[in-house]
């Protein structure tokens, strides 16, 4: 294939990665920004979202779009409920101490993974896409659903953004993020805000999973790689900076796609990882963050 179309394809693929990554990383970033909790189980919320989506879709039946839409509603709610419970039962009791929460979320990771293996099984199972249109370009064909994913994810990112900036709940979250003590002094129920943020973060991961599962199947080990990528995105974007997170997701997604045009894939992964690590080393506040207070 000649260079131009190849680049176009890599860009499209990169955008799909970016779209899903943006949603997922937004959840991680929100949790980190507001609660200062590094949620290692975030990838498992993603996986759980995909598994629940499969389960909903296989119960609903009928036209694939019906199952898909049902999953899009039910799955984030279920996952958010699980996260809410985990926050109340475990994280809150640890006073959100950074090291303790890392260990606790590692524990959570094992538990969710094992439960998925036991009750869902080791197979990779697909959810049927709500529609199957193959967009035919002169050089190659492309999945219409993937274009749909890019659009929906972009919409959802904007919606989340509006929620955080325009609604009272969003205001409470941002106030808590800015200064916990002051927020408490202003009678903001910090405790409930934390639980809400953790649930919302997990819900975002679940939505990302529902969008991706018609492309990538639900599997109980699917959480790890998106988790690593989301971490990278959150850090590169500047910890807790939502705008930075979205920009970084686009940057990482696109570069992941485009670097592979020029290098052998394993080498490309290696170089990309090294590059991101070095960015962090020399600009630890992230590309878009400001220097730490």
């Amino acid at each position: 294939m000649s260079f131009g179309p190849h680049l176009l394809l890599a860009t499209l693929e990169g955008l799909v990665t970016s779209a899903v990554l943006a949603l997922m990383a937004l959840g991680l970033s929100l949790v980190f920004g507001v609660m200062r909790v590094v949620n290692v189980a975030h990838g498992e919320f993603f996986m759980l979202g995909a598994v629940v989506a499969w389960w909903v879709a296989s119960i609903v039946g009928g036209h694939p779009a019906v199952g898909f839409l049902a999953a899009l509603v039910v799955s984030p709610l279920v996952v958010a409920a699980v996260a809410f419970a985990a926050e109340r039962l475990v994280l809150r009791r640890l006073s959100y101490e950074p090291e303790a929460t890392i260990v606790a979320t590692i524990g959570l990771l094992y538990i969710i993974q094992q439960l998925a293996l036991t009750f869902y099984g080791p197979e990779a199972r697909p959810v049927e896409a709500p529609f199957s249109i193959r967009v035919t370009l002169p050089w190659f064909g492309y999945s219409g659903y993937k274009l749909f994913v890019i659009a929906v994810a972009a919409l959802l990112v904007v919606a989340t953004w509006l929620m955080l900036t325009r609604t009272r709940a969003g205001l409470l979250m941002r106030a808590t993020q800015y200064d916990r003590e002051t927020a408490q002094a202003f009678a903001i129920p910090v405790d409930r805000v934390y639980a809400g943020v953790f649930a919302l973060g997990a819900g975002l991961a679940a939505i990302a999973a529902v969008l991706i599962v018609p492309i990538q199947q639900a599997h109980y080990l699917m959480g790890l790689d998106p988790l690593l990528l989301s971490f990278i995105v959150v850090i590169i974007g500047g910890l807790g900076s939502l705008r930075g997170t979205v920009l970084a997701a686009v940057l990482i997604g696109l570069s992941d796609g485009i670097i592979s045009v020029f290098f052998s894939p394993t080498l490309a992964k290696m170089l990309a990882t090294l590059l991101v690590a070095l960015v962090l080393v020399f600009r630890p506040q992230g590309l878009f963050g400001t220097a730490p207070r």
Binding site: L239, A277, L280, P284
Partner: protein, 320 residues
């Protein structure tokens, strides 16, 4: 720390080593084999503890140091035909070089960024072992022939495939690492590291080169972990990319937390406890990860200082 208790400390650690020595003849065969592995992995955990427990540097990439030792020893023995002791030395050298390189870069960051940077460097090392599959055979890994693992001493040849010899070699490594940790913890260097963990800025204003001391901690940690990796390759004969994967970066963190961070005995206790939790529960249910996960959460909720840490906090304040 003032009430010296040196005699007590030496007695405790020496007693443990002697007990482990006696176990070579007391343990049933299976458990002796298990202990051989645990002693080596405990050295990995001890290396991790130097950085995480004493210096307060939470790394999520320590698999790379273990892998540096594993491959440093494994590749030189397998491809270059080096004798086992030279391979072991190569493993240590690889660990030291990597630790210095990673330390110089990663120590420019702190907190969460440090965690992620170490994780990413480890990912690069993991991908390297896959990229050079021609030499490493990647995931599948290499098997070192028994005769290549023999250690020729003047007048004797140690055969690490013999269970007793292997146990004693593992114990020797463990004892050396334990002695090194105790010495470091009680030396000015150890006090310096702990104080850096507590308040870096204050240490700077007491005239300490914080960066150099942290780098030294990373180097010590890297060499200990590499020693464990090199010993693993030579004692058990298998070298594979799995040991460089993220799972092996998380394991030492769990072992140390379970046993007790910043305690000299925490790593061995944690490694031992974790292994037997998995080993025993996997006999009853394949859902042993659930048990591990629950154990972790309960532990962090109710015993956040780990087993030895809780012991020290409640009853034995003199434990180093």
């Amino acid at each position: 720390m003032r009430t010296d208790g040196l005699a007590r400390i030496v007695a405790l650690h020496l007693g443990l080593v002697l007990l482990l020595l006696a176990l070579n003849w007391l343990l049933p065969e299976y458990h002796r084999g298990v202990f051989s592995r645990i002693l080596v992995l405990a050295v990995f955990a001890m290396g991790y503890n130097v950085m995480f427990g004493y210096t307060g540097l939470l790394s999520l990439g320590h698999a790379m140091f273990f892998a540096a030792g594993l491959y440093g020893a494994g590749l030189t023995v397998y491809h270059l035909g080096w004798p086992a002791p030279a391979g072991f030395a190569a493993g240590l050298a690889a660990g030291l070089a990597l630790a210095l390189a990673v330390g110089v870069l990663a120590l420019r960051t702190t907190g969460v960024a440090f965690m992620i940077v170490t994780l990413m460097f480890a990912q690069v090392i993991y991908l390297l072992t896959l990229y050079f599959t021609t030499y490493t055979r990647g995931e599948e890994g290499l098997v070192l022939a028994p005769e290549d693992r023999f250690i020729a001493l003047p007048g004797a040849v140690l055969d690490p495939t013999d269970p007793s010899t292997r146990y004693l070699l593992a114990l020797a490594l463990f004892a050396a690492a334990l002695a090194a940790t105790v010495a470091i913890v009680r030396a000015p260097f150890g006090r310096t590291l702990v104080a850096i963990r507590e308040n870096e800025e204050r240490m700077r204003m007491l005239g300490y080169d914080v960066f150099a001391n942290k780098l030294a901690a990373v180097a010590v940690s890297g060499v200990l972990c590499a020693a464990a990796g090199a010993a693993y390759a030579l004692l058990f004969g298998y070298v594979g990319a799995g040991f460089a994967s993220i799972q092996y970066s998380i394991l030492p963190l769990l072992w140390v937390l379970l046993g007790g961070a910043a305690t000299t005995l925490g790593p061995i206790v944690g490694t031992l406890a974790m292994f037997y939790v998995v080993d025993v529960t996997s006999g009853y249910t394949s859902a042993y990860l659930l048990v591990v996960g629950l154990a972790l959460i309960l532990l962090i909720l109710y015993f956040p200082r780990g087993l030895v840490g809780t012991l020290r906090e409640r009853w034995l304040p003199w434990l180093p």
